[in-house]
């Protein structure tokens, strides 16, 4: 049996890796039955692949047989790849044995669609159920919801899983129609809405009755593919904004499209758009943790993010009238908006200035990065800059001036282009 499982693992890990979600945090499942595992609190990355991504979960497909033919997908029906499928027991054994050796935080199980949506979903649920009930497994389980699966199955999935996700993949209905003609937006949004309703309901009930069964305590997430189709960053981020606000999603993941297909329906790219993906993540963070509205990050005049500079710096350069910010008196919200100052630094500043007026040496000692921030702040009305720069000069100084190096990512991408050319 051993060699067979190795062969399957190769194929079904390969097919699952383009799903970038790997989070294992936000669960509240404790080990109360003296069983195996614990999914409360912080997520843990147990390893990192050579592409620098976190390995937290055993991320596999149950099968890569699929009845759909989505152009962007490596598992599409028309693609000439080897097909295989795990049995329920094989997935359970892998998960338990990896978990016991502290390789993983849990399981991320997705699947190609064989026969129909319910048939597939039912098998995913069966794996989770077996792990929870027979193996007393309290580790993290992330189940993919198959578009078109029945409400009852989704409800059951939520009883065993910590997180559920439905992947939207293509950021507009138009792209979906051309690249995945068998799918449509309403079919994807329907289960998302129903998961949201279940989450709200479970929360209300748990307020009334302590013993209410948990429903996907780590919430739901989705993924958008970046660069396979022509949508602008603005369209992508507006969609995310809606998903966070309307569907209460915990996370939207962005997957820079890796060319796995030469289908003529796709944009022609040779390299995955790594920098663009990174900038979109930064913008996503600004919306979720830095109090930025999507309209502040991108607008009609700027439909795409600047690849050379981070979106917070971009915003600051377009809105110079907010600056300089006086570190000793400004609100937390405003300090957070200073380029280069993150949540941790902002909190330290707020804490320390209760005791003494801060000057630049204090900031340096506290580890606040001043490379960008120094152009936007004062300490006790003093500035580190003697002269005023306009936004274009500032941008150049930060990018090239004063011994500054270009971002490592950018250099890497340029290297790649050179090698490709």
């Amino acid at each position: 049996m051993n060699d067979k499982v190795i062969g399957k693992l190769k194929i079904l890990a390969d097919a699952a890796k383009y799903d970038v979600s790997c989070s294992s945090s936000g669960g509240k499942r404790k080990n109360e039955n003296k069983g195996l595992g614990n999914a409360e609190g912080m997520g843990i990355c147990h390893s990192y692949t050579e592409d620098g991504r976190c390995v937290s979960l055993l991320k596999i497909l149950l099968t890569n047989f699929c009845i759909y033919d989505c152009a962007y997908c490596v598992t599409r029906k028309s693609n000439d790849v080897q097909r295989t499928a795990f049995t329920v027991q094989e997935v359970v054994d892998l998960t338990i044995n990896f978990y016991r050796r502290n390789y993983i935080e849990g399981l991320f199980l997705s699947s190609g669609i064989f026969k129909d949506a319910d048939y597939t979903m039912e098998r995913l649920v069966r794996v989770a159920k077996k792990l929870r009930q027979e193996e007393k497994f309290n580790g993290y389980i992330h189940l993919k919801t198959i578009p078109g699966a029945s409400d009852e199955l989704i409800k059951e999935a939520g009883l065993y899983a910590d997180r559920l996700s439905v992947n939207i993949e293509l950021p507009s209905e138009k792209s979906l129609q051309s690249l995945a003609p068998e799918k449509n937006y309403s079919e994807i949004l329907l289960p998302m809405g129903s998961i949201k309703d279940q989450l709200v309901q479970a929360k209300e009930e748990s307020r009334l009755f302590k013993a209410t069964p948990k429903f996907a305590p780590a919430g739901q997430s989705t993924q958008l593919i970046v660069g396979a189709t022509a949508e602008s960053d603005r369209q992508i981020l507006q969609l995310s904004d809606q998903l966070y606000k309307v569907y209460n999603l915990k996370r939207v993941y962005y997957s820079g499209y890796v060319p796995v297909s030469t289908d003529s329906r796709l944009s022609i790219i040779t390299e995955p758009p790594i920098i663009r993906e990174n900038r979109i993540y930064q913008a996503d963070w600004l919306m979720r943790f830095y109090g930025f509205d999507v309209k502040e990050i991108l607008d009609d005049a700027n439909p795409n993010l600047d690849l050379d500079i981070d979106p917070k710096l971009g915003w600051a350069l377009r809105n110079r009238y907010f600056f300089p910010v006086e570190i000793n008196t400004a609100d937390y919200e405003m300090i957070l908006r200073v380029p280069g100052i993150g949540v941790k630094s902002a909190k330290k500043i707020i804490s320390a200035r209760r005791f003494a007026p801060l000057h630049f040496d204090h900031l340096r000692q506290m580890g606040v990065v001043l490379k960008r921030a120094k152009y936007f702040i004062t300490c006790q009305t003093k500035s580190l800059q003697r002269q005023d720069f306009d936004s274009e000069q500032l941008r150049r100084r930060i990018l090239f001036g004063e011994g500054s190096v270009r971002s490592a990512l950018l250099t890497q991408q340029l290297d790649l282009f050179q090698r490709a050319g």
Binding site: N2, S47, Y48, T49, D51, G52, K136, A352, F355, Q412
Partner: protein, 259 residues
Amino acid sequence: MYFYTYDGSFEGLLTVVFEAYERKAWPTAIEPEQLAQPSMFGETVRVITDEGKANRVWLGLKKRLSVSALESLYYTYLWEQSGFERLIFDYTRLVFDSPESVEGNYTAPFILQVQQIQKQVHREKHRMEAFVRFQKTADGLYYASISPDFNVLPLIVRHFEKRYADQRWAIYDTSRRYGVYYDLRATSFVQLENPGVTPRQQSKLNADQYDENETHYQMLWQVYFDHVNIPERKNPKLHLRHIPKRYWKYLSEKQPRLQ
């Protein structure tokens, strides 16, 4: 000039604080007994650990500090880098001598330093929770050895107790020569002193001492690790930033491929 020596324990260090306050004799240096050099000048005070005195100091700190600040003091003890005793003493004195809370005053050097140490130790703790790789032995014990930069073993016990409640496991710190063992009921600290054997050898088991499926699962893990990677996105710099080379020795996925 007063030179204090203590037995190396956290309670011992707290007793030093008590003695220094009682004598109003502030330490020039605090050192573990076995490391202390006799000094020609000044007075050497040899402090005997006293649980009662240590407790009074700890309770005094508890009244003035939050749980997380107390924790960072203990983290500073586990940090073990030169001068940590003095730092804990100076921090404690600042706390006792200030009329108001000093927590979060990052303009004060001791406070900032303790906060930065807390961060370092916490990161190492988190890394050990991530990078420990258990190997199953023939008698069903899950065993791992570590040699962390700081003495974080006491800090990770709770995490593993909660997680692996239904399996026997042991983690051994080869550089500090002690370990923890969980026997399905409770966890205890153990020392595997075997004078003829080096710590490295102690941490390695013979092939026949492993469970018959151990190699198989290590191989599956390596296969998984290789196939979840996207070669088109290769980024060695980022990879190394996340797992610096000194941690590779723990990781079965960074070892030569098993056949």
